[in-house]
Subunit: 327 residues, 4 copies
């Protein structure tokens, strides 16, 4: 019997795609979608491509609990935590796509704000199955925090080097869907097309996820750049390592780290984000250049960086095949 | 009286723009354009936007010398050196846009091939007026080597830090015109749009220019990335420095380095390449992030990174105002 | 048991996508891929996104016939006919994506060249299931000619008006993948980005398909335009009609024509090509404006305009559900 | 002595470019810029590319009259008329970029709203110098209405056919800057990139300008489409004509209409908008196809379609060379 899933916040790019993946998923049934600003409209009016005929409701945790066993929550930071608490209180398994459950309380409150549901942090698991033994934790979890898109790409690039790593510069190139659906000066086509620029150069909070997931004491410099791409994210990870790793050493580390992984491909040339577009895959390439180890890691920010990975997590939480509905 | 200028190799993107700038220049007269593959066609047939009614000839140094006092040479590496030699032998002042005269012979032959005109290297000057005292050298020079577009942006970013600099990671994002006019798999719209990828990850030869122009002993890691932009180049320079530079220190170093420079603007936020499109300007921004000094440096790769800077050099060589025809 | 399918010409955009759809299709098995220029390379080396681990062979009809019951042929016009003849002689069912079997011999030879396999024209069926009763013909056919992408969009727009139609101006806006994989001056990113232009203004041969499929005597003016889009095609059909059709009349004609069609959606506002990207759907909108009936018809040129529709045809030919593997 | 010019509404795309052109103009002096939403900010903070160091003020007609002899008004429809009245009352010559003074009162009030300054309509001149004898009127005018971008391209295409013209379908492809600076769902990069769609299919008000400027009785169907281009507009004009015009006839009509025109080029192949980017030029191409005369007309919507043409008008009004500051 299909598991019933609700998507909370289905009007944004991540939530809309999450709803679309759930709807096409052979073992899941999409039973409800909610939205804040567009409640009352049919989902396929906003996103015809996903063909979801459901009307987006205001969020009512009781109604959601009536029709769903699990939920993807795609609300902004801070708003998410309150919704997650209400759904957990009603027994739903939850994958939250916001930052609210990715970090410990101290780190979260340093980078964001006072936490809205700190009592849930203990049960939350970081939802990147490929690293740090999280896959097994996710299988047992009732609450999973979907990693940030920048962190997903960077961690997949750096994780295989962790035992050798002293310092890393992570230069992110991310597409416009990563900036969210809100229409702003920065997301206007005329502003974004034919342009590239860095943003949040003074401490992007996604580096906190890297510090949490990698061994202590590694210096991280993390700078995101906006490029005129719809969906797609490339993390260029420049690592200073202990010892003299050769290109072949790096290749072997990557191959070993991701042997058998269904969604991570170790490739023999710098990956193109176009080659992972609209897939849940990451493609990683490692080499040595200048005095650095370089790993280039490409994902689709909305898929492996958000909604696809959330369903990958949900598959694990529900005892399904990890790849179901995602290939 | 206007100085007569020829553009050798006016069918490529850099040469075509160079011809266009010369033609609009109040103190220069465009008297000849040559091309290898498109000889016999009118320039405005290929590039209507520049409105140059001249027919592109096969390169004949005698004919060029008859009508021109100076030349921009926009041939590929190796081919350029031979043309430059012929023009210098006939007394023309030359700005060469290729790599052929940017490096010393040893470095050149390490990265490229045996040099075709090594006897001219002694007189060649590196054409980045804003650094290393080159402006005065350029005024006296008969042969100037236009710096590479990547190097221009990176050097403008790193030069102000040179006395503090130990190591730098330079992550370049460059538009498609930097890949040249040749139609290839990589430059096909379907391949290049909605995509980003690194290329030449194992030692891009532009780092040789950085090593030459910066103090000895600085470790340079240099990786270029292709982004779906027409014209535009951003160098993200992650520097490890001696001592503890504050954000304010970095700002002051940049301001001091470029005080009075007509084409370099030190700005208060990460620069956008769109804000320098079709101009000869660079915009640079310095800050401190993670454990690095970061300088972001934006140029138009065809202007300040190639043809615009070549005319800036030519202005200096001819005793004209450095900015003439460029603003 | 899965039907075994070969894709002939899998190195081009249309063939590569066709192979990808077949490979993911639950009732088909991709058993061979061939290519002309890239024979000997693995398909996933050229197109990692489709994850096809097969090596592309030179075309050998005997080998193909050994492993396949049906074939998609994605060769250029003229080359295709020869390959189709060889495959048909060996008993394979064939969907041909070229123009070679779309038209009668006279029309074909007017627009193209002497036909290479005229004896097969009698059995060939025009593969647009939604119009002219073709669906039933396709079910019985051994050879189906996949319609052109321009014609598909235009015919889906005009077909519902056919009994009222006197004259139509069809203004096509098509993405760059429609121009094929060949790297040319026109397909270079720098040339194609931030640009729009008409091409083949003097008689585009796709109008022949319209003349064939619509009632005789309708004047057709047909002009394609290239826009900076990867995949996507919009046909703006300006129709002069007999009688005074109201907006409501037009809506009803469209609704009636496509009631129950799985791949054609009649929508209430001008369709966006982004809303059909990477799907086999068409979205059509009809209205009255100025003194014309206007139908806007949006498809993905590589899907409903080529490879997706070819698999839709193949499903019909093989007695499968028409939508299998396509949603 | 330079004429002093103010730009009213310099925060939008058209006004900002107008200010930039005026500032670089050798015979004009930019003395004031105003803005509604961004008053108090320096212009170069919003638009670094134009390098205008002036602070944008709230609009105060007395202050403007103190420092300026003429003004470009780049306000939205309706708001513009009030500002124009105040400036005219203080004796300034005005070019208005809105629709407020393009049409007679009846047509205006049909398409827009009650007119805010109907008493000025009698003195207003339609600012398309190349047609209908407007150039001489503009020279004498104190108030000129800058034509719409769509109308400019379409009229330049259709004007030479006017004596033969019975009916025209005008299919417009316009870039995103034509939609204005406001950030909306439609102008979001993710929405606009890789997409094309029609909009305002039921009667776009720009057709009113065509009806006014062309001989009476010509049927006009006018549909604009949004394409992923920054600056650029193409009008495809499908004309039904009296008599049998040949391709050569059409070419001659165009050549005769625009002989000696500094800003209109009759070209021998379908024009590319990229070839007029950031210029005040139009490129037009005429041919015969299907049963229609086709004229393709390309402009930059912000230049010849707005700010560039406004300065062209201003040059005429001030007795300057028509091309000054525009080439």
């Amino acid at each position: 019997m299909a598991r019933r899933v609700a998507v909370i916040g289905a009007a944004g790019y991540g939530g809309a795609l999450g709803a679309g993946i759930v709807q096409r998923h052979p073992a899941l049934e999409l039973t409800a979608v909610t939205a804040r600003t567009d409640a009352g409209r049919r989902h396929d009016e906003l996103y015809p491509i996903h063909r979801i005929a459901l009307t987006m409701d205001e969020f009512d945790p009781d109604r959601v609990a009536d029709v769903a066993d699990a939920a993807l929550v795609a609300y902004p930071h801070k708003t998410a935590a309150g919704a997650v608490r209400k759904l957990r209180a009603r027994g739903l398994k939850v994958v939250d796509l916001s930052a609210d459950f990715r970090l410990g309380q101290a780190a979260y409150e340093h980078w964001y704000q006072p936490h809205e549901a700190p009592e849930l942090l203990a049960e939350a698991v970081y939802g990147l199955p490929e690293i740090n033994g999280h896959r097994e934790e996710i299988r047992e979890a009732d609450l999973v925090a979907g990693p940030g898109c920048n962190s997903t790409a960077a961690l997949l690039g750096l994780w295989p080097l962790r035992e050798h790593l002293r310092d890393a510069v992570v230069d992110i190139k991310t597409g416009l869907s990563g900036a969210g659906r809100e229409a702003t000066r920065e997301t206007h086509y005329v502003s974004a097309a034919d342009n590239v620029n860095a943003y949040k150069t003074e401490g992007h909070r996604h580096s906190a996820e890297l510090e949490q997931e990698l061994p202590a004491g590694i210096g991280i410099t993390f700078v995101p750049h906006l490029i005129p791409v719809d969906q797609g994210l490339l993390a260029s990870c420049y690592a200073t390592t202990d010892g003299d790793l050769t290109r072949e050493d790096v290749r072997v580390l990557l191959e070993e780290a991701y042997a058998g992984e269904p969604f991570v491909e170790v490739v023999g040339a710098p990956p193109r984000t176009a080659d992972v577009r609209a897939t849940n895959r990451a493609r990683v390439y490692g080499t040595v250049t200048g005095n650095r180890v370089l790993v280039e890691s490409a994902i689709d920010n909305l898929w492996k960086g958000a909604a696809g990975q959330a369903v990958q997590d949900l598959n694990l939480m529900l005892g399904l095949d990890e790849t179901e509905g995602l290939s």
